[in-house]
Amino acid sequence: MSEHEMAYDRQGHPHPVPDFHDDYGGEKFGLWVFLMTEAMMFGALFLLFFINLYRHTGAFGAASADLNVWLGGTNTVILLVSTYTMGLATLMMRRGRTGASKRLLWGTAVMAAVFLGIKAFEWSVDIHHGIYPGSGILDARDDGTILFFGLYFVMTGLHGLHVIAGIALMAWVLLLIRSGGVRPDHTIVMKNVTLYWDFVHLVWIVLFPMFYMIGA
């Protein structure tokens, strides 16, 4: 008991804390607090999108038709399947199937990288055609189109940064599995990374139809 740190209640009575680094509920709740701050950030951007969709409905529909639905759709399916494999990876780890868990985690990271590759290709095609914020070609078009593509680059760019962070977190989990920091009886870090990846998917679930489908 002497090696335990102590927490004190209102009456000053000491209570031993077995392990500050194994507080499952606290670590999970902390991640949810972070996710809700992320939801507020993306929520503000979606609000901006809806306001401008209301004000420039026709222009938003026409600009949306310029985007490649098939590339966006492929990315939607990739992200959806990657959410599934990430969840399975955590399930496998909990059941002691470390090898299968690592393979699923690798697969998820590869799918995330493919998602980014497709997104980079889409952006490069748009930029090649002079469609990017501040370009002369885009600035010559109507306000609604300028706003649509401005929001498109900001929101898909911000989402892309989250995908990059997700890949980095998956690589970190793979290193933790190797070092024993993540193991079948201690999976909270992996579960939190899975929750984060689910959130990244949730954002895309709204981004995809709003940008790609309203003009389809």
Binding site: V33, A39, F50, G73, I205
Partner: protein, 93 residues
């Protein structure tokens, strides 16, 4: 290992449901050609169904404590109030 099959089966069923809703997202504009505004509303309804599935089953919210569920609901409630106030202002300005 006896408990692994139902969980994986559930995950796979949810995946199938999400893929079906994704297919609906794709075909909806072809099946019912509407204005961009109305299409956005229908697409949002489909997106909310997908979010509910991911939140309930993949993020395990349906099995979470009332405390955590309440926190998430509170956060989204505040976001919706924000949407409602600004949206009302935009519509009437």
């Amino acid at each position: 290992m006896q408990h692994s099959a139902p969980d994986i089966a559930l995950y796979t069923k949810v995946l199938a449901g999400l893929l079906l809703l994704t297919l609906l997202t794709f075909v909806q504009p072809s099946l019912y050609h509407m204005t961009p505004g109305k299409t956005a509303v229908v697409q949002l309804v489909i997106a909310v169904m997908k979010i509910a599935l991911v939140g309930a089953f993949y993020m395990h919210l349906r099995r979470e404590t009332a405390y955590l569920k309440g926190y998430v609901l509170l956060a989204f409630g505040i976001l919706m109030i924000f949407f409602l106030l600004v949206g009302t202002d935009v519509v009437h300005s």
